[in-house]
Symmetry: C2
Subunit: 205 residues, 2 copies
């Protein structure tokens, strides 16, 4: 009976260094058939090792603008002269088939989707502390000290948006954070408005 | 950090024969320290084997009316000349200590609590089908055929209130139903408004 249920769009945000990527990879690994990661469209050039349709849908500026005009994007933005956006078609297709979709996106994009009121659920990932976040960013050894401090400052500023989300997860231990998101995904499947078909089937039985 | 989180009141309803009791006992067994079953107050006389404070808080009519006058009840009703109600004090005490509370209650009582808008979450337990519900009620051998038919009719009428709840659970297999309620309980712990202290602690770190 349950396969008539519409999927849920889970929008996940969190500062650089909170471990979003690791958490999401682990979630996808655990849910190969019922969880799909939304792939963004962009006009920027592919980097070495990036595959079209896997890392991004690479588009020309004309193609991207056509998507905008045809209301083909859930949200879009322009950074450093390149367009980035979330194609609506694949997301809607998955949700329609009852598959939940994860969208990893920065706060501004998440807030644009929230404003559309399309039933998405918003999860904010917190570091255990800013001390720990600094440690993680430093240990990556990919950024200079200045960049690390700037990222921390941004993360602190962005934290004020956490209250705009539905759920918060502290990434203290990855396995625990993954488990908590799984609780949320499974609980959302029990929402009344996701089960109106089921209620009506029981009613008719 | 998390122990500053306020508990959640979970209001559970479902027709006679849906197996609410079995599900709730199993939940309490799994969560001896972090889940508490609310005990109702009543003016009816204790039946054989019933213990004050375990099955009910047995009250005189004067004591019960005093509770009503002092706003000491989350909800109350009068059936067959006896008063029944949910004492606020114990529930609030548990929630304040971060312990989640389960309240098993019929739909009218649940709707009274919903109207109070105190942040409770409402779970409706469905039978897999009315055919199965009839089978379960008949197998109990505690009711006559007429009573079984009347219970089924009531259950069908009550099903229309399911949409007023936050979550629905189908009790097809008890273990699965218990697991789904555990998903809900755990997901609700991640709600942003339950974690404002946590967010502010990270902010200060």
């Amino acid at each position: 009976m349950n396969n008539k249920r519409q999927g849920t769009l889970f929008v996940i945000s969190g500062a650089s260094g909170t471990g979003k990527g690791t958490i999401i990879n682990s979630l996808l690994e655990n849910h190969k058939n019922d969880l799909f990661l939304s792939v963004s469209a962009t006009t920027r050039s592919p980097r070495k090792g990036e595959t079209n349709g896997v890392h991004y849908f690479f588009k020309t500026e004309d193609e991207f603008k056509e998507l905008i005009e045809n209301d083909g994007l859930l949200e879009w933005a322009c950074f450093c002269g390149n367009y980035y956006g979330t194609p609506k078609k694949t997301v809607d297709g998955m949700l329609g088939r009852g598959i939940d979709v994860i969208l990893e996106i920065e706060i501004q994009g998440a807030m644009k989707i929230k404003a559309k009121d399309i039933g998405a659920k918003f999860i904010f990932i917190l570091p255990p502390s800013f001390e720990e976040l600094r440690k993680r960013l430093v240990e990556r050894r990919t950024e200079t000290e200045d960049v690390v401090e700037k990222r921390l400052q941004t993360a602190k500023e962005e934290l004020q948006y956490a209250v705009e989300y539905d759920y918060v997860i502290v990434n203290d231990e990855v396995d625990k954070a993954v488990e908590q998101i799984e609780f949320i995904i499974n609980a959302e499947k029990c929402r009344v408005h996701k089960n109106l078909n089921l209620i009506s089937e029981v009613q008719k039985s």
